[in-house]
Every structure is written in C-alpha cells, then in structure tokens.
Amino acid sequence: MTLSKINSIDFGLLSPSMVKSLATVRIVTSDLYDADGYPVDGGAMDPRMGVVDPGLRCRTCGSTIGDCVGHFGYVELARPVIHVMYTKQIYQLLKASCSKCGHILHRNPISLDQVAKAPMRKCTHCDKQQGKVTFAKPYTYYLGKEELNPMQIREWFERVKGEDLQKIGFRGGRPEWLTLTLFPIPPVTMRPSITLETGERSEDDLTHKLVDIVRINQSLKENIDIGAPEFILNDLWELLQYHVATYFDNELTGIPQARHRSGRPLKGIIQRLKAKEGRIRGNLLGKRVNYSSRTVISPDPTLSINEVGIPAVEVARELTIPETITTLNAKNIKELIKDGRVNYITRPDGRKIKVTDENRKDIITNLAIGWSVDRQLKDGDVVLFNRQPSLHRVSIMVHRVKVMPYRTFRMNPSVCAPYNADFDGDEMNIHALQSEEAQVEASMLMEVKNNIISPRFGGPLVGLDLDHISGLFLLTSKETVLGRKETAELFSRAAIDIELPDKDTFTGKDIVSLLLPKKLNMYFKANACKECDKCLKDECKHDMWVSIKDGVLKTGVLDTRAAGAFKGKMLNKIRRLVADDELKNFIDRLGRLGVSYLMMRGFSIGISDLDVPTRIENIISEEIQTSMKDADKLVIKFNEDKLKVLPGMTPEDSLETQILSTLAEGLNTVSEIMIKNIRPSDILVMSQSGAKGSNINTTQMSACVGSETILGKRIQRGYLGRTTTHFKVGDLSAATRGFVARGFKQGLTPFEFFWNVMNGREGLMDKSLRTRKSGYMQRRLMNSLQDLKVCGDMSVRDSNGNIIQFFVGDDGIDPSKSDWGKLNWIDFVEHG
C-alpha cells in the first residue's frame, strides 16, 4: 500500500451525484434474504456492499472480511425529505432568502445568522412581500399559514444564487442538498448481522431502519405511479420522512421513538456516536490496554511506601515483561523457563510460542541470543500503580513489585493520601511497563520516593497518618522510658536493623533520635501545642516545643506537624538534607516504629474515656441551659419587636443568625470546659497528635452535639410554623428547632435524633453533588491549561507563544522545592 500525506480535509454536504458515485448498488427492494437464506440483490444486505461473513470474498473489491472496508449503496427517494440534522440551517435560509426569487433579504449580508435574525420584509430584487416563515419541531416548516413541503423547499433553495451563498458564508455545497433525494445506504460492514446459536439471523438496528425506509419508499413510488389520491401520498411521504429522521436521530423531541419489536428503542446514527458509551467517548477516547490488572487494595505497613504487593498466582503469573536474551542473561532466563516463570517466547522471525510443560525442554535447548521471552513479574519490577479518578499526577506512580500471597494489591497506608485511597473496598490498577526505556523513564519521573513533596502546595503528600502518628506521639512523649531489652524488642518488631548505644534505659526521644539524620536541626511547635500565653520554647511545661539538634530530639513530641502527610515539617527539611531514597527509608522506618510501639503499649478507647466528674457535668448542663435560655430571650425580644436587626437582613433572618451564634458560643464554652476536665485518654492522644478527630468530635460525644442545620439554617421544614406536630405553632425556641442539648454518650431524644439524621442526609447529598460539580470544573480547567509551559526566562507561555504570565506564579518559586510555597531563607542559612 502506498501512503500519501493528507494536505487538507473539507467538510460539506453530500450532493446527489456524489451519493451516486460513492455507491456500488442501487437498493430497490425491502427484502433482505431469499427463501434459501441468501441475501437478495438490490436489498439492504446486498453482498456487493461488503462482506461480514468469514471465508467469503467481497463481490465489489475481492477482499475478505477485515480487509474489505465496505461499499455504499443508495436509494432513489420517490419524494425528497428534510435532512433532520440541518433543520436549523434550513429554517435560517428560508427566513433569509426571497420566497419568489431566492435573493438574500439583506442589503449588506455578512452571515446567515445575521440575515436570518433580521431579514427585510420585501425583496429588493423582485419586490415580493415576504410571508412569515415558521418552524415546528421536528421538521415542519410554514410560510404564513401554508405548510412548505420538502419538494417546495428544494425548489426554493434551487433559486438561491451561488454568489449570494458566498456572501452569507454558506459553504460546503448547495442548499437544496439539505433535502435528501438520493439516500446513501451505508456498507454492511458498519451494520453487520449476527447469527444466533439457533441459526436465526439478527439484524443491526440500522438495517431495520433501512428496510423501513426502502419499504415505504417503494410503496410511495408505486402509489405515485398508479396515480393514488394526494392524501395517501402525503401519509406515505410523512412516514418516509419519519423513518429517515429516526434513522439519523431516534431521540428527536416531538415524535415517538422508533422501537424494536421487543419495545426497545432503536439506535440511530446519533445514538451510536453520542454520550459515554458512544463511539467517540466510549471507543475512541476510552482506551483499553493489555499488561494491566485490577483488584481490591488492602494495607500492609510492613511494605515500603515505594513497593506494591502483587498477588502471586492471579496477577504475577499472568502479567509479563519482555526480555531479550543476551550473553549476560541467557543462563538466568533458561532458569526462569525451567521454573515456569516464562509464559511466551518470541523468535527473531516474530513467531510467538507459548511455553508449556511439553515444549519446555525443547525451548531451553533451542534458545539463542536475540530471542525474547515474556517473563512473569518478579520482585523489584517497575509497575505503574493507579487509582481513579486520576485527578493529579500523583494519582499514577511507579511502585516496585513485591510478589505476595492472597488476592489483593497491598500498599503502605502512607501512600493513601496521594491516591486518595482507603480500604473500604477501593480497587486500583497496575500496568506492567513493556520496554527498558519506559521502565527507566517512569522510575526516574514517577517513583513514589521522587514524588513525596507535592508540586501543588510544597508539603509532603506522603507521610505518617492515623496509628503511625498516635504511636510516634506516645513514643516521644516525656513519660516514655524503655529498658534496653524493650528497646531492642521494639526495633526488632519494627524490623529496623540498628546498633543500640551502650545504655540501659532509653527515652522515646532517644529511640527516635537513632533514626534522624545526623545533619537535622529543627525548631517548631508541635500540633498538640497548648498555645501558652508566652511560649517558653525549650522550657515548655507541656513539652510541645520540638527542638532537634544535630539529629537528636532534645525536647518536644513528634506528631502530625513533624511527620504527618500534608503537614510534616520534618519531611520537607529532611528531603533537602538527604537523598530521596533516604527520605523514603526514614518514612518507612518511622511509620513501622510508631505502629510497633503502639502494639507494644496497647491502644484502645471506651465510653468511660468520655466521663467527666459530676461537678463538671453539672456546670456543663447549666451552661447548655443558659445558652438555650439566651436563645429563647432573643425570641421574646423578637416577638416584642425589640431585636436588633442586622444590616442586609430581615428581622426573621437576624433572629436566626443571632440564635445560631448564641448557641455556637455556648457550645464553644462547653467544649473548653470539657477539654480542660476530661481525663487524659487515648481519645485525646488521637485528637491532640492530629492522628484523627478533634476537640469538637470529643465534645459532641461527651457533652453536647449543638445545632443541627439544613442549608446553614436551623431546622425549618416540617409543618406550618413548626418542625413536627408535637410543638406549638410559631414556637421558635432552641429546643424545637434542631438544637441537640445532649452528647452522643448520653443519647439523643427522638426529636434530636431525627434532626441529626436530617443533617446527616444533607451532608451526604451535598458531598455527591459537590464532587460531581467540582470534577467537571476541574476537567475544564485542565483542558484549558494543559499546554502551558514555563519557558527558560521563567515566563509562562502557551503552545502558540502567547504569554500568560511574565514570571511564573508571580514569585518564580517552584512549590515542590519550597516549604509550603515559601523559601525559608533564614532557616536555610542558620541550620542548613
């Protein structure tokens, strides 16, 4: 086959002569097959339009199935019909041209849109007064009160002159081609019939539609020939128009859908192309790939963040990587073949042979340099690991294979953050890279260890979370002191091979210090910092001032501020001091250390953790009562018209706003009292260290849930003037409008429970709506920004060289090399 370069493509209308010259067959009968089951010549399945049966040769081009692309046929329509995809253009042209002579109804025509919007009422050429053209969906036109049939429209358009069409920018052919006289029949290759197991033939939707068109057309022609009365002809003509219209688009408004015998609507050409499962989005934009695998993910904190556990049987044995045999690896590969670790071999002539127990010996003896094998995945292989939706570049990263038993992909929980994954049934994909170049490039650009710092906000995306943080917090807190044996056991559990200094007791700070890089110098407040009035730094009595000197943790506890995902300052700093590989090891070991310590110490919570002394309980319930009374006072004031009306609000809105803020203030006070008086427990460890939860969660559990809101307002809906029938009409007090005066521990009243559920449901709906909206917004942003690049002079330009920014990000800072977008020069100079 000779290849030639495409210089240009012109889109336009198919002229009747073009339809005829494209076609190899004229279709004249609505019969598909004869009595013997052979396709009828001149029917919609005429074999001259291409082959779909294996073994047969095309009667037009002589090729077999797959090579023959198919050939068009055509039908001569007895009367013209409107092309429904062009109803708008037809309408515009009817409005824009003279009904008598076809002249454009404008003195200075520029575009069809412009003329059709405001045409002259009288033709300048023939002085004909123009009637009003109207259009009724889906395909009927009127001139004044008279209906215009496609034949009249065709004659009208034939009168429009070519130079006039040029002026209004009508390109691509003659306007009369907007009505169809010759109808192209698409090749059978695009509407193949399938043979069912019963031997019955089942035709494509388009074929059904074509049969309808041909049948009605034949009957229209016969009726014209015998001189049938006009109303019969019009009925058939209308029916022909309907079939042609639904052939193109079977979801037109205003006409019933054409249906299959089963009641299922037929698929028109538009339906083939449109929407998610259509040809464009489903087949052309949506790609399927080989050498990939998908399964449920589950956590394994003993894996490195850089690794992924692969099911040995189900995945590792099926996914392969090609390897060419050289003098260096020949021995190795023979070994692999012997072990059944090779699935296929490819000979230099391109023949692929499956390795089986029978041919294994032969293959090993015949194997030569230059052959290539498809070997199964093994530890250390480079694979891409991906979770949808792939919203940012760290949604696909390179992991190193670790072949493991069982059937899930295993990953270190620290890499959940970039993928936004959890283990409630999430599935992820892996892709095995098929060439050395791809493997090297991907591992340099995409490996987890090279993507720990986010290029978006300049903080770590991969870091410790949840139990890692709880464990680290407890380990580094002041009270923790371990004996030598315990310390050794801790490191052993965490699988950290390290030489212990010659000491008998180790504080938690000593233990962590063994993992810190020797060059590390840092000073910062911990997450659990109590925000003392005057920070005493090293002398802080809560031990919340973290100070690390030359890799030794002197004071302070390590928590999410130190090593957490998104917030961990230490991770940023260490990244600047050591190689990416060492940072990866640091995160791995610190995480394992935290979890191991947590397991040694034990970690659990109970309802009694939420208890406070009776005295405090009384104070709290008094506080809640006071704030409810305060709210009720506002209602009284409102009823007496004495309430302060806030700017820009109605009195009613002012009342609601003030009640909500009064109740919120009350809850705040309760929260403060609570946190001060609750006894230390693992719940507090979690919220203080930043592992999970907050003081608000604790308060809601132990003391008071507070106001439940719908759309930011107190519960309003229900009955006229009240939320349920149990309350007085017009009662606006806190207790009847969504205020939950108890904590979850005490239990909610039925009303309170109902309001809580209302609020919960709103949150759920909100979440799904928001993700859909923001997803589409993000897609649009990505599409418009995708070809911008930062040039050598730090300006941002698009692919045409248009300047978008003169200095990237206004400050020229690459966030991935900064601390949360800032360059911390002082820290850099003082501590390196």
């Binding site: 300047i803 003169f806 200095f807 990000g809 206004d810 977008g821």
Partner: protein, 81 residues
Amino acid sequence: MSLKGDCINILEHVLVPKFRVLSDEEKARLLEKLKTTKEKLPKILQVDPIVTNIEAKKGDILEIKRKSEVAGEYVYYRLVV
C-alpha cells in the same frame, strides 16, 4: 466616551492596580527582553474603562503593577487592542 470627572475616579480605587503607558523605547526593550512580538502579549480592550481613563491608544503597552499575596508586587504587561 470617557468617564473622567463622573462620580468617582476608578484609578484611585483600592482594588485597581497602578497602570502606566510604556514609551516607545520601553516597548522595544520589553519585546527584546521577552524575544517576542507584541501580538503575543496579553491583551486589554481599548474600550476598557481603565484604558479610556488613562487615554491609552490601540497598540500601546500598559505596565501594570499588581499586588500579589506571594510576591508582594509584580509587573504585568498588556497590549491595548
């Protein structure tokens, strides 16, 4: 139409950055520095209230000093079209 003298002077509004028309010499220097032509610069319409207010003409390049959260102040250029 100029809004000059009417109601308030938009150039003095806190949210409006400082605008200045570049001289021919500055224009040439800027384009030389960026190694580009003026068509590739960001545009501003000549009917823009700012443009009519400082009486800039089509083809002028405006220098805009904007406040930035991250960079303090930065300079932007726009071509009047």
